[in-house]
């Protein structure tokens, strides 16, 4: 069956697809496995670029342009900017498990997801829905951009207007978050939570992340959930393991 399809597909298209798919996947895998946040960001650019090519391949030229300009141009640059600004450009040890049991859990989830997919694939029928509900995509005067523009300003007019609110939030949010906090932040002002491990002196203890187990009796909590510290380290702290400093774990 695949031979039949392959025969029907034009070589150029197939080649383009194959190459871009490879780029996309390689980039994606790169993001996940690269130890260096900067590398990850660059890998992300690669994926975005591959996706943009696939957009072009599917006659979504405008989106391809936006993808490159907005995503690769703005978003990834923002990422890089933050990485550089924070100086969190050291490596994360991929081998160290973030949390006991997290990776097995992720593995289980992935396996379950795949099993679900397989079941779905075996049991389900695959069909796509009604055609051209919001307007045809091809063969319009003015091409892709005009068609998209019409859709956005007619059918999707209100969603388009509503995105204004999103941008307002983004601006206000950036302002709020960038505001300098007042110079009073002794963490001891925080009332200790149940484990009382916050009451530990706030400074003068180097190498925080290695000691994380000692503050949490049993590594678990009374409510039966795994301990989930959200820890962010300082770039200036001398960490022997070279751990990345901005970390979150669930």
């Amino acid at each position: 069956m695949s031979a039949h399809i392959l025969a029907a597909v034009s070589t150029v298209d197939a080649l383009t697809f194959a190459v871009s798919a490879l780029i996309v996947l390689a980039g994606a895998v790169g993001v996940v496995v690269s130890r260096h946040p900067v590398h990850a960001a660059l890998m992300l650019v690669m994926t975005l670029f591959g996706v943009a090519v696939l957009f072009v391949e599917q006659r979504a030229e405008f989106l391809a342009a936006v993808q490159v300009i907005v995503y690769a141009g703005a978003i990834v640059v923002l990422f890089l900017f933050v990485i550089m600004f924070l100086g969190v450009d050291r490596r994360e040890s991929v081998a160290a498990e973030p949390l006991r049991g997290q990776r097995p859990l992720a593995l289980v989830l992935v396996v379950l997801g795949f099993a679900g997919l397989v079941v779905l694939g075996a049991e389900a029928h695959w069909s796509v829905g009604a055609h051209s509900v919001a307007g045809v995509a091809r063969g319009q005067a003015g091409g892709n951009v005009a068609a998209l523009g019409r859709a956005v300003f007619t059918t999707y007019l209100f969603p388009f207007e509503v995105t204004a609110a999103l941008l307002v939030i983004a601006v206000v949010g950036a302002v709020v978050l960038a505001r300098r906090p007042p110079r009073i932040a002794p963490p001891t002002e925080e009332v200790p939570f149940e484990g009382a491990d916050v009451a530990r002196p706030a400074s003068g203890e180097p190498g925080g992340s290695e000691r994380r187990a000692d503050g949490e009796p049993g590594g678990g909590r009374a409510d039966g959930e795994p301990a989930e510290p959200v820890r962010v380290g300082s770039p200036s702290d001398p960490r022997p393991g070279g751990e990345t400093s901005v970390e979150v774990s669930r």
């Binding site: 599917q58 307007g135 091809r138 892709n144 939030i169 906090p181 530990r200 706030a202 200036s236």
Partner: protein
């Protein structure tokens, strides 16, 4: 004839899975965040593919909105990271995990 949509969809699913896996296994906030972007891109790819398969411009319009949302999310998300990070420097505390659970 062009490459069948199912191939694109397969690629999109794999991309989505890689992104989701990344969010689950990585602990660097920025990398996790990039993995979320991968997932959004997978969705965008699916939208565009469906748009082509259905000959419907709607899918592409949706991608447009997802892009806007992604941009707003990135601004706020990175803002939070920066805000937290700066306080760390101020407070020179290296290890509060105030929130557990």
């Amino acid at each position: 004839m062009t490459v069948p949509g199912a191939w694109y969809l397969g690629l999109s699913v794999v991309l989505f899975a890689i992104g989701a896996l990344g969010v689950l296994v990585r602990r660097n906030v920025l990398v996790m965040f990039m993995c979320v972007e991968l997932m959004l891109n997978a969705a965008n790819l699916a939208f565009v593919t469906f748009s082509r398969m259905l000959d419907d411009i709607g899918g592409q319009a949706l991608v447009f909105f997802v892009l806007v949302v992604a941009a707003a999310e990135v601004v706020v998300g990175l803002g939070i990271v920066v805000a937290i990070f700066r306080r760390r420097q101020d407070a020179t505390a290296d290890d509060f995990h105030v929130l557990k659970g």
